[in-house]
Amino acid sequence: MLRFIAFADKLSGFFGKSFGWLIVLMTFGMSYEVFVRYLLNKPTPWSLDVSFIMYGTLFMMGGAYTLSRGGHVRGDFVYRLWPARVQAGVDLVLYVLFFFPGILALVFSGWKYAARSWSYPGGEVSVNSPAGIPIYQFKTVLVVAGLLLLIQGLAQVCRCILCLREGYWRRPEEDVEETEALLLKQKAQENG
């Protein structure tokens, strides 16, 4: 179980972080558009399409990564007060009832949706501009993101089971923290 958790964390982390670098590409791509549009009076036809494709891919591919690092927002004002075992028990039930159905729908319906997009002669292109930017690969992101969430969800279920047995949470290996969290941690080390 531990090995599966580690595998899922790594997998989600790999995809989430790799696609995260799209933000740098996006920064340069959009800056390039600003340059050619406002200084050279030659706007590109693709910037609109490319910007939402990068944004959409970035956040969808980051979904599982965010889940593995506990980054999806929860109303945890009561939850945080519970002992770890209670948290794990509640989470376990809720994962089964309220996580997998939605994610399975994402995978299967996403598959249908993307497959149709691939099936058009030459593949579906974006309707937003005449540049003909392909979007069938972008629609496939729905399926890949769904599969990653599915695997990560199973890992979270394993976490719950382990926590029920052991009484404490198995945290993911931390790779990066919000500035505030980092500072908080440094301070805690200094003080204690």
């Binding site: 927002v73 948290q87 509640v90 809720l94 249908k112 500035t179 908080l184």
Partner: protein, 472 residues
Amino acid sequence: MTDPQVALLMLGIFILLVFLGFPIAFTLMALGIGFGYYAYFDAGRMWRAFNRLGEDADWWTTNTTWFEGFLNNRIFDLFINQTYTVMSNEVLTAVPLFLFMGYIVERANIVDRLFTTLNIASKNVPGSMGVAALITCALFATATGIVGAVVTLMGLLALPAMLKARYSTSFASGIICAGGTLGILIPPSIMLIVYAAASGVSIVRLYAGALLPGLVLVGLYILYVVGRAILQPSVAPRPTDEEVPDVPFGRLAVMIATSFLPLALLIFSVLGSILFGLATPTEAASIGALGGMLLAVAYRAMTFQRLRESVYLTVRTTAMVCFLFVGSYTFSAVFSYLGGEQLISEFVGGLNLTPLQFLIMAQIIIFLLGWPLEWSEIIIIFVPIFLPLLPMFGVDPLFFGILVALNLQTSFLTPPMAMSAYYLKGIAPPQVQLPQIFAGVMPFLFMVFVAMALVYIFPQTVFYLPELFYGR
């Protein structure tokens, strides 16, 4: 049970699940799909293929076709369609870019330069360090759209300085908490982009509309700090020359030029180009991110490690916000399909409220939601419940959005989910206690309500700039 009652049940279960602490995006998704399955259940349509099977169909075909009927519910197509709509939402493309810009800029050692300079420059003002801290926060707020880092950075920098200058603990920590929260109100605020995506109000008009109310709030904060320092000098004594050195004017000018001007240039190129319609918010955000990187390089604060951190944090926060949209798009489509929206409209319509009563009621609800919940959940999930009611009371959604943005300042400051206070507590010296922080925050909460009242009495604070820039 009628369909609208089912919709209310759906909302009720959702609120219960929020209390149980399950990640909200997935809760919304599952409830949307579950109740959508009920809403779109249509046996004739779902088992059409099964019903058309001839007598000669074999056992396997008969059973698989029958089973496929269960999956043939339109909710699945709706769900994917809504998800794709979020993925291709052009307004939200600015979210990761502004987040990235914020993460880069907060790692660029800007805050300490700015605070040091302003501290010296404002030395002769009553409550000078508090004023310097607030102005630092306000300036920084125009370069970042998020909260958190500012509170902690200022908490590490300004709080010890103020405590050393014998400022009252609760007064000083109130200043930092309130000032550090401004980033989410003053453009380029992520919260306003999210409100734009949720309400359909133009993001540039929201940015223009938020600018003056943001300044009003900063002004009220400063007024309070200066006023309190005059009336009760013991909470904010004048710093000694040792604590804040006197600096000759020439050197001060250089300090301002190196700390304030580059940041001001960055802010102006981002906000200016958005407000004057020279570039789209997405384009401006990319320029801001690029400029932030250059600034960080210039301040020798740019390392690969920091860039990587910024990238990863951008992914996580973007995914957090956008998955909420994925969940809420499906949830709210089903909620209104079942007639929930209609039911709420009729209920509120039947209360015979005046527009003012309605506004007060809505803002009180949002204020109360801000205790247990965070701004993202409130804007993406609860505010859209109010939006269809606005025409009934003749309230402009732009105006409403600014009031909400002001109001949600409080969600960072009020327990039990007072994120700003917790961040500060985490990095403050041990003698700073949470009750002291909350006591210090109270007057600032009051100022938020004063600002809301002022904005209500003088709606031109909201409408003046949008009308000036966009002519209506």
